[in-house]
Symmetry: C3
Subunit: 302 residues, 3 copies
């Protein structure tokens, strides 16, 4: 892992690349027009990316059945796709949504946290960090079109965008519910959450591991807007257009000013945070409670 | 005082013990079952503590007439009681309420701030700090059932809990009204307040020394919920049960993550904060205005 | 500039004087009664100051047609007037309002940012900083009676007061709309804004360069209260009386506790902030977009 890190070229002012080399080749060069034609889509296994070159808006559609859980493979695709778009001057904004009915993303894949080696746990966690650093620090306008439930890591993904629109279905819920599973949201999940809903709401919601229904999520400011599900994508496009009406440079510098201290905090404590994750997750008591949770999920399905 | 401090044994990760040795013996050992039977109560002069061993929920009832003012004796009992419960594995949560009609707590006892020696002022302030460090940093779930008015130090006590329920009586008021008395809430009162209501509401409320009626306190987020007075204790028990449904370990780590920076700030500036208090309170102008305030209170009574 | 700075006498605990010597003489001495009689007004070109010695409340009326734009001359008068009042023991509060219909202040004068020398840019920016340091850190009670639109620097002026009342005219708007002009609000504008509306509202509003209508500004907490325009001055006087009912000393210490960290941050990075401003504003791309903006404003007028 250390070797992989050392080999990385980190450009100043740009978040470092994803630590795993992409399966399908190297990252997109500066002339992405060669790769992407008008409305040309590129897809891998788990994420479908469509770029509308007219508007400069890409859509990332999560399509990893059954519930868009965030595995190492998912994260690798996510990082590569985001990096490609970030380097593509023709792309100014990204809308994140799900291709799977009723679920936006079920969060970090629990199978990645059970019965694996410590090296693998570390690799997984580094990729989680990387994805968040890229997304929270993106120069592009990022809009989450939350068209289903979105617990834990799925919620973080939405929280890290510039704007959140949710389908106004009261059956859909969203929240950082880690405490319900006996685990603890790391400090940068918390920082991201506090920046959106404030200290008091975050303290209560994190301690209770609350999953908020769409209307409640709207009331506490976790999402910015609710719309009927059939209007969600149109609304996301309209919001994106509103944000893209601003000059990129001023908007980007402003965004960086708002988010820099929280991004810097993880960058400064990154290895420590990986160690914390690995030593926490390898505890027998935690492994046991995650196995029980997975059993429960399996029973639910059958 | 320094000697008392030096003698204290501070366990890592656990807030230090109260600085005054308890009048009735040493702190409860790790096997508190020996001391407390099912629903067995222990009481001193000013606080009645009842532990329901079935639910693991204790109730601390303030019963220091006429208005539950927070004297050094009150603080000593408070620290010892909280420490006993904290060390009792059978106790997972505490509900704070008042045995005195219409008053939750009138705040720090002004007679402790008038005409005493500097040593006594320092001892008093250290006990105020200690109580807050213990309560704000408690591993237990803490719920304030605010069944009466709660100015200044009484408000801080409620603010330091995990959840605040108030009787919906518009005659009851709550707030950090120190400025009204010509004194200043210390920085950690302010930090605690900001963590609950946000910077703007805190700035305005602290500068005006506002006492908020129950409905207003609810509107600004100072209390989480209002219920009819006769339902207050049942509601507190129900909220407690909801919080206790979470695994202790994850909830405790989450709580610590949310509160650590504010707790650490006092720990780092503790002696300085005591010196500030002592030098402020011993000013002739402050002594004079506190004496006038006490005269006014006496006249009100008669 | 360095020489000017070095010559300044900075009293501990008091914000430094404005860097430009007043055109009409030196700052008011400690016995301002010699200068100001009951309701005696002093006026320069751009700001009318009236002090009611009975109530101890001054009014600063901006009267710099056509739109109270904040030029270096305006800032110089502002600093001197505020300093005079700050040093006048008979003055305990200031109400800021506009003598020009429909505009409170249009913000920093764009002509100060176009086609000038770097020395002049630096001098201008130092005066902007100075005015904010004086206003945000004032010991007096400061109330903004916002009787017209108030974009950018005009909004900052209102945000830096203790309380904001706005005429409930939906045509009036207020906000830090710098991003709309392709420029970026500096970090201390942002800090001031976050302290009023919280992180999330600030992040969204700053990135979009939003100008909020009066009702919306009230809803997001940017202003504290809306009143019909004809009642604005009376309301401001009533609010002022409420704040002045508190003992000055306790209120001032409380205000300083709430604002000190944000004030200190600019003081610590002042020269760096000036350099940032100068190097940003002298970029050809920024100069071009400001010139285009001015052209647009001129066309609008004719």
């Amino acid at each position: 892992m250390a070797a992989t890190l050392a080999r990385r070229i980190v450009r100043p002012g740009v978040l470092p690349l994803c630590s795993r080399p992409p399966a399908w080749g190297r990252a997109a060069p500066r002339s992405p027009g060669l790769l992407l034609a008008q409305r040309r889509a590129f897809s891998n296994n788990k994420i479908l990316v469509e770029l509308d070159e007219g508007s400069g808006v890409a859509t990332m559609k999560f399509k990893s059945p059954p519930v868009n859980s965030i595995s190492l493979d998912f994260l690798t695709e996510f990082c590569i796709s985001l990096e490609k778009l970030e380097n593509n001057r023709g792309c100014r904004g990204v809308i994140f949504t799900s291709a799977i009915p009723t679920v936006f993303s079920s969060g970090l894949d629990i199978t990645e946290m059970c019965g694996k080696s410590t090296e693998r746990y570390a690799e997984f966690w580094r990729a989680v960090q990387e994805s968040w650093l890229k997304l929270y620090g993106s120069n592009m306008v990022t809009v989450a079109a939350v068209n289903g439930s979105s617990p834990a890591g799925g919620c973080l993904l939405a929280l890290s965008c510039d704007y959140r629109i949710m389908a106004e279905n009261p059956k859909f819920s969203i929240g950082l519910n880690e405490a319900q599973l006996g685990i603890v949201a790391p400090f940068w999940f918390k920082d991201t959450f506090v920046n959106v809903v404030g200290h008091r709401v975050a303290e209560r919601s994190l301690q209770l591991g609350s999953l908020h229904s769409a209307p409640e999520a709207h009331r506490i400011g976790l999402v910015d807007e609710l719309v009927p599900e059939e209007k969600l994508q149109d609304k996301a496009a309209a919001v994106m257009a509103q944000w893209l009406a601003l000059p990129d440079h001023a908007r980007q510098l402003t965004k960086s000013m708002m988010r820099k201290s929280v991004l810097d905090r993880l960058v400064a404590h990154r290895e420590e945070d990986i160690q914390n994750f690995v030593s926490f997750i390898t505890k027998e008591s935690i492994q046991k409670s995650l196995r029980m949770y997975m059993e429960m999920l399996k029973k639910k399905k059958s």
